[in-house]
């Protein structure tokens, strides 16, 4: 129910500033999304969308931090815990 999906902002429609909206791409599916709760959002940003409304802008630096942390706690490779030839941890860009 509280499912929210990240998508990329392709264009912004702000003829009526009170009801700013955007065309957002979700892996090829495009939807018109309200930006009423995220006035800071610009073209190229990723937004988290719930029932047609962007609730927040996805922060790229913070997303990277999770992986930086996992690298730090590391030394796992030596213990043979990381599967060889596994999917790249940073794959999937833009598709």
């Amino acid at each position: 129910m509280c499912l929210a999906v990240p998508g990329k902002v392709l264009s912004v429609e702000d003829a009526d500033p009170a009801f700013r909206s955007a065309c957002v791409d979700f892996c090829g599916v495009r939807k018109n999304v309200s930006l009423a709760f995220t006035p800071e959002v610009r073209v190229g940003d990723y937004v988290l969308v719930h029932v047609g409304f962007a609730l927040t802008r996805v922060d790229e630096e913070e997303a990277a931090r999770t992986f930086a942390y996992l690298e730090e706690i590391g030394a796992l490779e030596e213990e043979g815990l990381v599967p060889e030839g596994g999917e790249g941890a940073r794959g999937g860009e833009g598709n």
């Binding site: 129910m1 509280c2 499912l3 929210a4 990240p6 990329k8 009801f19 979700f26 892996c27 309200s34 009423a36 709760f37 995220t38 006035p39 990723y46 988290l48 719930h50 029932v51 047609g52 409304f53 609730l55 927040t56 996805v58 922060d59 790229e60 913070e62 997303a63 931090r65 999770t66 992986f67 942390y69 996992l70 706690i73 590391g74 796992l76 815990l81 990381v82 599967p83 596994g86 999917e87 790249g88 941890a89 940073r90 794959g91 999937g92 860009e93 833009g94 598709n95």
Partner: protein, 375 residues
């Protein structure tokens, strides 16, 4: 998909799950409640349980708005379709939820005008397109969804669209957590905090859980790496004898929440003195009703609502499962009379209900392994 795939990558999951193993004290049994139904679904879908050491038990919480809605509210909402001019709209999640007189989908089969909408804004558009009809939106959801309903009502008033109304069943998460903590049969060591609710309310409203109840809470994302990291952060706090609110989902959740969304909720809604939760009884100040200024768009004021109260079937143990006292498969009806195809309780209807999640992933897997097809 960016911000999704990398959080499901096997290499990252292996690292995150190893961290959990290292932090868990083998001498101790941990009971963590994931409050949100989205987490419950993700935990079963991604097999997170199998990535945890056996002494970490995940208890499923009350954060599925479809599941906690008393059956009578569905009958109340559907009673509005007795007026043939009414178009009943709701999210897809609601369509198969049984009321005492059948589900919205069964009403559609009987000739009522019942339609699925993706957004409350789409329900308002439907009203604009059908000026000779009345469009009623059956609103449901926690603070994640309430701002969207609120903004739709603000728009309806601004544009003077009068053939539209909302039947508000919005609930709030904090009183539900309080009810869980007050429940005498409840033993929880810490909470995995809801991710998307927190994009709206932020992290501050959870502070009493840490300060007054001494329970750690980590607001977490919904991908396997997020959930494992959230669990690791809880273990770290417990290991150090701490209890605080932490945010694992920083890429999405601002500490202060979303002010514009909270403002929209405050403009349109006020707290009801009390509201019934399925399986949990009446909880004070736990739901939102529409303010007087928007009375014209309040379905509860436009229609005479019968106020139906329906007791759940005696054999169904939805309440115990909902509070985490029983596991889904421990209910007598699970997998026999009650299945996702023929749900008796709402926990089996919504994909985020713990019974449906357990049935779809665990039960089918077990049946496949034993060479049987699930009942």
């Amino acid at each position: 998909m960016k911000f999704v795939d990398e959080f499901r990558a096997p290499e990252a999951i292996a690292k995150a799950s190893e961290e959990v193993r290292k932090l868990a004290d083998p001498e101790r049994h941990y009971r963590f409640m994931e409050v949100c139904g989205g987490h419950t679904h993700a935990i079963y879908r991604f097999g997170v349980k199998d990535l945890l050491p056996p002494n970490i038990e995940l208890v499923h919480g009350p954060g599925c708005p479809v599941c906690v809605l008393p059956m009578g509210r569905i009958d109340d909402g559907l009673s509005m379709t007795d007026d043939p001019s009414v178009i009943f709209t709701a999210f897809g999640d609601m369509m198969r939820v049984p009321g005492a007189n059948g589900s919205p989908l069964q009403h559609k089969a009987r000739g009522k005008d019942i339609r699925i909408v993706y957004s409350p804004a789409d329900a308002l558009k439907l009203a604009e397109k059908n000026p000779d009809r009345h469009v009623m939106f059956f609103a449901i959801g926690f603070e994640t969804t309430a701002p969207s309903t609120a903004l739709t009502l603000i728009r309806a008033r601004q544009e003077g669209i009068r053939n539209f109304s909302v039947f508000s069943n919005h609930v709030t998460i904090i009183p539900a957590i309080r009810a869980i903590l007050d429940s005498p049969d409840m033993r929880i060591d810490a909470f995995i905090g809801p991710g998307h609710v927190s994009t709206v309310i932020g992290c501050r409203p959870y502070e009493w859980i840490a300060k007054n109840e001494g329970k750690p809470i980590v607001v977490s994302g919904f991908e396997p790496v997020d959930i494992l990291r959230g669990i690791a952060m809880l273990l770290k706090q417990l290991g150090q004898g701490e209890a605080k609110v932490e945010n694992q989902y920083t890429r999405v959740v601002p500490w202060e929440g979303n002010k514009a969304a909270l403002k929209a909720i405050g403009e349109v809604f006020e707290l009801r003195p009390y509201f019934e939760w399925r399986g949990m009884g009446f909880i004070s100040q736990s739901s939102l009703r529409i303010r007087e200024a928007y009375a014209e768009w309040d379905a509860e004021k436009r229609f005479s609502v019968p106020g139906v109260r329906v007791t759940d079937p005696k054999a169904a143990q939805c309440g115990e499962v909902l509070k985490g006292v029983l596991k889904p498969a421990q209910c007598k009806l699970f997998g026999n009379e009650c299945t996702p195809e023929h749900p008796i309780g709402a926990l089996m209807v919504s994909s985020e209900g713990s019974c449906a999640a357990y049935y779809n992933y665990e039960h089918r897997k077990a049946a496949a392994l034993s060479g049987l097809t699930p009942a």
